[in-house]
Structures are given as C-alpha cells and as structure tokens.
C-alpha cells in the first residue's frame, strides 16, 4: 500500500448554523500534487485551514503522517500553509521572512543562512536575501512566500488559491514553476483553487467539491473524461451537457424527439442522465459520415484562437453546443447551417 500523508475522516465544520464542510473523507498520497477544486463557498478553503490547524473541525479526525493532529495547534503541525494574500511579514526583508520558521525551530545561524540560500535557489531568486518585501513584484512575492512555507521542510504544503492575484501570463508561468518546485522538493502539495485550468495543469489527483461535499475524487484524466455528475462535467473541461432519459443504450432527449446513441451502460432504464460530450470530440462539417450521432446545427459564434477554432452552435432541439477544432486552413462562417456529430464512445453519462 502506498503511504498516505494526509487523511481526513468524516470531517465536518459548522460556523454557527452554516455547514461549511459536510462530512468529507479523503486521503492524499505521499509526494502527490492534490487539488481541492470547486466554486467559491464550497468549503475548500475551510478544509485546507482545518488541515493547517487554523480552524477546528466540528466533527471528524485529521491525520498527517500517522499522527492524529486533530488536537495539535498549528505551530506544532508538520505542514505549512501558503496564504491567499502571500502574507509576507512587511517589517522583515526576504531572508528574515524565509528564516522566520527556522528561527522558531531554534536552528543555528549558519544552518539557517545555508537553508535560506538553498531555498532562494529552488524558487529561482538567488541573491534576493536583502530585498525588502515592498520591492518585490507579484510573482517574486509568491515565490518568496513558497520558499518561506517550504523552509521548515513540511511533510505537506498547503496552498490556498496562490495564483489568484496574478495576471494570466504570470499565472501560467507560476503553474509550471509550482509543479517544478514540487518535483524538486518532493513535498506533498494540497492545492485549493476554483480554476479548473490550474487544477488540471498541475494536479495528480483532484477532489471536486460543491456545497461542503466532495462530489468526485480521482486522477485528473478520470475527472476530465468520466465526470460523475453534471456539475463536475461543467466545472472541468467545460463539457457539453445534453439531458434526457437513458433507455437501452440510448438517451432520449428532453427537447427533441430524437435520441443519442451511447451504447450499453450500467444504468437503470428511464433514469435521468446528462450526456457529456467534450468540445474537442465533436466533428463539424457539411458532410459527416461514419458517426453514430449526427444532428443539424447552426453556427452562432466563431472564435479563432490560432491553433484552434471554437464554434458555438445551436443544435436542433435548442441545445447550445461548444466545439473545439484544430485549425487546418478552413473556417465556417456565422449563420451557416451544417451538421455536427460524434461517436458513441465519446459520450459519457453523468448524474443529471
């Protein structure tokens, strides 16, 4: 069995009457990049703060390593938190910030200096020791924040929406940087975000949360390709959802007297389902052959993105469908009537 670094057992958190986290359980493997993904208010930050020890669970147990830390104060837990707003100490310079956690451990000065230098190398900012926190750019402050959180060699690094305040380009750089740092140090990362792109890019495993509950937990690919519910499907990879009733290898559509061929599934007949079809699995053209499902559609919007084209089409039955296609030198115009289609293997059925 693989080693578990963090285990949550039936953890619940209530603030007055509001249930922020509702009886969740999961475990994170050693050295894994694990993401808690969900919209704001789904309880993901509260979950993280409970692991850090900044909030006490109303019910349930939290283990880090083998140890039950439910009653351990934050300053004695073997994990560190990277704060949403970075929270660098403004009255200290870069090296004092990074050294803070080490001084609390009462390490000798020479060792602290060595470790600070080492960490600045890891985050790619060598020679920044004497800089004042005010002089750092957004991206630099983030890296220093990560260095500070890694200084004590925590078993687990907790990250609370670390890339939120950054602009798009910097965010993409930092995603790659974070993943690189995680590989270098080999620490378990638990990452909280509402951005599916961040979660997909970096994570080994994702837990999708909604209203204080975990809806689905699994590898990035699993959540992307086989969302358990319509919520997960919409949240991750922006699937097209077409709702209807399942009946013997088909989904009879709500709005249209037609059905989508799906092949046999282990679903009871007449159950409501959402058929998810990824935008990149749908073909578009005037003449489509060899596909199990073909429908009429009108192009409503066209977004040319260089390598890809994103069509928003209105399918018969009033279904809005998004399609991603590789650009091969041909673009259909808005208003054009044509056909769209997909194979039955490309349909995944989720709970509606």
């Amino acid at each position: 069995m693989e080693k578990k670094d963090v285990v949550l057992e039936n953890v619940t958190k209530k603030f007055a009457d509001i249930v922020a986290v509702d009886d969740i359980s999961f475990s994170v493997k050693r050295g894994e990049f694990f993401s808690l993904l969900g919209p704001s208010g789904c309880g993901k930050t509260t979950t993280l703060r409970m692991i850090a020890g900044l909030e006490k669970p109303t019910k349930g147990k939290i283990y880090i390593g083998e140890e039950d830390v439910s009653e351990v104060p934050p300053f004695e837990r073997p994990c560190n938190l990277f704060f949403q707003n970075v929270a660098l100490f403004p009255h200290m310079n870069v090296s004092e910030n990074i050294a803070f956690g080490l001084e609390m451990k009462k390490l000798p000065k020479s060792e602290i200096e060595k470790r600070v230098k080492e960490l600045l190398d890891v985050v790619g900012l060598p020679g920044f020791e004497k800089r004042r926190t005010k002089e750092l750019s957004g991206g630099q402050a983030q890296r220093i924040g990560i260095a500070r959180a890694l200084a004590r060699r925590p078993r687990v690094l907790l990250l609370d929406e670390p890339l939120g305040p950054l602009d798009l380009k910097l965010r993409e750089e930092m995603m790659i940087e974070l993943k690189r740092i995680q590989k270098v140090v080999g620490t378990t990362f638990i990452y909280v975000t509402h951005d599916q792109g961040e979660a997909i890019t970096m994570s080994d495993e994702i837990a999708a949360m909604k209203e204080g509950k975990i809806i689905q937990i699994g590898s990035t690919e699993e959540l992307y390709n086989k969302p358990r519910t319509a919520f997960v499907a919409e949240f991750i990879g922006r699937s097209n959802l077409i709702r209807g009733r399942y009946h013997k290898g088909k989904v009879n559509l709500n709005n249209l007297n037609k059905s989508i061929i799906t092949g046999p599934h282990k679903i009871a007949d007449n159950d409501y389902v959402a058929a998810c079809i990824k935008p990149e699995r749908i073909s578009i053209g005037e003449d489509i052959a060899n596909l199990d499902n073909v429908f009429e559609a009108v192009i409503e919007e066209v977004y040319f993105r260089g390598a890809q084209i994103n069509y928003k089409v209105l399918m018969e039955g009033n279904y809005k469908i998004s399609i991603l296609e590789h650009y091969k030198g041909k673009i259909f115009e808005e208003g054009k009537k044509l056909k769209i289609g997909w194979k039955k293997e490309d349909v995944h059925l989720s709970e509606a």
Partner: protein, 278 residues
Amino acid sequence: MQLFPAMFWITFFLLIPLGILVIYSFWEMVGTRLIPVWDLHNYVDVFTRIKGMYIRLFFKSLAISALVTVGSIALAYPVAYFVSLRIEKYKYTWLILLMGPYLVCWVILVLGWKMVIGYSGLLNYLAQLLGLISEPMSWMWNNWWAVVFILIMGWAPWLVFPMFVSLEKIDRSLLEAAADLGAKPMKRFLRITLPLSSPGLLVATFFVLIPTFGEFVTPALAGGSKGVMYGNAIDYSFTAMMAWPFGSALSIFLMIISLVVATILIRIVGLEKLMESL
C-alpha cells in the same frame, strides 16, 4: 495659494505670539515695564537661578513625563490589544463606552481622584473603617507621585485609540502565517504584533510626553509643594513673579528641547509610518 488659509492661521495665531515670546526672552522687566536690553541673561538664569533649581525642576519634569508616558502606554496597550484582537463584535461601541467616564474636564478628573486618594478620600475612610490604620495616610496626595498617578489615569484611555488603530491595521493573516511557521503566542506577539503596532506606540508617546512636559494644572491641584513641575515655574514667572522675560526664556528652552525629542522620535520610526497610523 491653496495653503494660504492654513498659513494665515499659523502666522497670526502661532508664529506672531511665539515671536513675541522669543523677543521678550532677550529683554528685562523692571516692575511692570519691559526694557529691551537684548542679551542672554534670562537663558543664563534658566541654568543658574537659585543654585540651578529651575534646571533641576526641568529634569524632574522630564522624568515625570517619561514615567507618565511609560505608565499610560502600559495601561492602555493591553486594552487596545484586547479590543482589537479578542473582541469580535461591537468593537467601536466598547471603545466609546471605555471613553465615557473620561469625557469630563481635566480639573473635575483631578478633583475626582482627590475624593478617592486624598487625605479625607475614600481609601483613607475605608482603611480607617476597617481598622487598618488609626489616622489618614498623607503619602497619597500632594506629592509628585500623585501627579504621576493622575496623569497616567487621565491619559491612558486616550492612548487606546492610536494603539487600537495600529493594531487594527495589522493583517490577521500575518499572525496566522507566524503561527503556521511555528511561532507560539508569545513569539507571535513579540515578533509580529508589537513591531507592527510600533507606530501607534510612537503616536501615543507624542500624545503624552510633550503635553505632560508643560503640564501645570495637575501639579497645582494634586502636587502640593513637593509635586511642582516646570510648567508651574513658567506659570509663576508670568503671574506671581511678574518676570515675563524669564518666563519666556523658560518657555523657549522647553520648546527647543521638545522639538529635539520629537525629531529623535520621528527619526526612529519615520514620518511616513507615523502619518499612516494617525
């Protein structure tokens, strides 16, 4: 031009009277007549008159001011800390309630304390009633420590405000970050809360140290002959002694020292930080 109203105000109500004071300090007074002699004899007198009594009084007042500053900060800081970091609801209501009893004039405040610690005050009455003492204790009133005590009690509530403001400004996630990095409560206070609230402490020091330096009401009411302060000496010079030039020299000397002290304090923390916390 936009500064004109402010400059007018400062010129007429501050610089001109101050200028007159400076001029007088170089003159002499005979009877009720001021004679322009233009020399430094008044300033020499500040140091030498009555075997240097005035300069000794100056240092005594400085010591009293320092004591009052330290004492009132020590009393107010925990209150500001408690309201800012421990109370979650109705913070401002608590602050106003705290101020309530102090919204009276200073003289009433001093006389109020006289009723508590004075010769025939409440404490002496209760101690006699309980048979702890046979006659009233006289060491609680009419001396310099009564002055220190009353000044501390009078200033402390006002100091809660600047310190509360600078404590409120501390980002709470900094304290959480410190805890997360292994700092226990005491360490968090010493390494994060205290240094980040230091501008408030400095404002408080300004608030108290400089006005207390020239204080004369409290010593006049509660100090007796042993509790006289430098401010009383200035007061006497202009009234009973009819020595305006000497009083002016005492005032100007006090002002120069105050400016020096203020400059040093500003240099320690920096004007920018100081203004932020006002």
